[in-house]
């Protein structure tokens, strides 16, 4: 019974952890914009999230007690890949600053959206638990 309250939250929690992971990846790219030989990295967010929550959203992927649940950090590692370069530089640095900044802003907004979803569902649960007779 109680896990029904938290399964919805579980999905958003995984998404939040993966968003934080991607934020760190993008910050690394921006930090290394002037390092010769550095290649920009990004992660396949959709695949990471799909693997983190199992096929159906909102359902935990662990189907047996002996199964190991995958940590968001491990998933972020397995779905990490090199970003495709838009143009080549002479010092073989693969950071496209415009794209990284755009991705960073995008990821920031989506992180905040996920936070808001979590806050919303916590508030909904709290509202549902409140007594009808209690003074508002």
């Amino acid at each position: 019974m109680l896990d029904r309250l938290t399964t919805g939250l579980e999905f958003q929690t995984q998404a939040l952890a993966l968003r934080a992971e991607r934020q760190r990846l993008l910050a690394s790219n921006i930090a290394n914009a002037d390092t010769p030989g550095y290649q920009a990295k990004d992660m396949d967010f959709a695949r990471a999230l799909r693997e983190a929550v199992g096929q159906a959203p909102g359902q935990a992927s662990v189907t047996h007690a002996a199964h190991l649940s995958q940590s968001p950090n491990g998933l972020a590692t397995s779905t990490r890949q090199f970003a495709i370069q838009a143009q080549t530089n002479l010092d073989t640095n693969g950071v496209d600053m415009d794209r990284e900044r755009a991705a960073f802003a995008d990821n920031t907004l989506r992180y905040e959206a996920t936070l808001r979803f979590i806050n919303g569902s916590v508030r909904t649960t709290l509202d549902a638990m409140r007594s009808h007779n209690a003074a508002v």
């Binding site: 760190r24 690394s28 930090a31 390092t35 990490r80 900044r101």
Partner: protein
């Protein structure tokens, strides 16, 4: 929380870029110097950046790639020679050797360093805002 690592990543980049700005400043200041303390003309200096992997609790992670300055190299190209026989530092043929600093190159370096510095500061500010909002989660 992996987001705290951003402060280490961007912090290392900011410190590397400020070191680069420092070197640019000393290069620009010495554009017209004829001789340094050792008597030879000033040589332009360049910083070398390298990716520096970091991670939480001693575990290195490829997602946390900071920057560090590995060494400061001296530009070995010959200095600018100007014909000025009356100059006290002129050699036997009447030429004075100035430093080999290219001021246009240094200005470009300066703009690039300050842009990168700003970008990294912005990244840290965004991370701070997000973490503050995360701390208020559920309230």
């Amino acid at each position: 929380m992996s987001m705290f690592q951003i402060f280490n990543i961007s912090g290392s980049a900011v410190s590397a870029q400020s070191q680069r700005l420092n070197v640019v400043a000393s290069n620009l200041a010495n554009v017209d110097t004829v001789a340094g303390p050792d008597g030879a003309a000033y040589k332009a200096r360049q910083v070398m950046f390298q990716t520096h992997l970091m991670g939480a609790n001693g575990q290195l992670d490829e997602a946390s790639a900071g920057v560090k300055v590995t060494q400061i190299t001296e530009d070995q190209t010959p200095g600018r020679r100007v014909f000025d026989p009356k100059h006290p530092k002129a050699d036997g043929t009447g030429y004075v050797t100035y430093s080999n600093v290219n001021s246009v190159e240094e200005m470009v370096n300066m703009i690039s360093a300050s842009r990168s510095y700003q970008n990294n500061v912005e990244v840290m500010n965004t991370a701070k805002n997000l973490l503050q909002k995360t701390l208020q989660m559920g309230q």
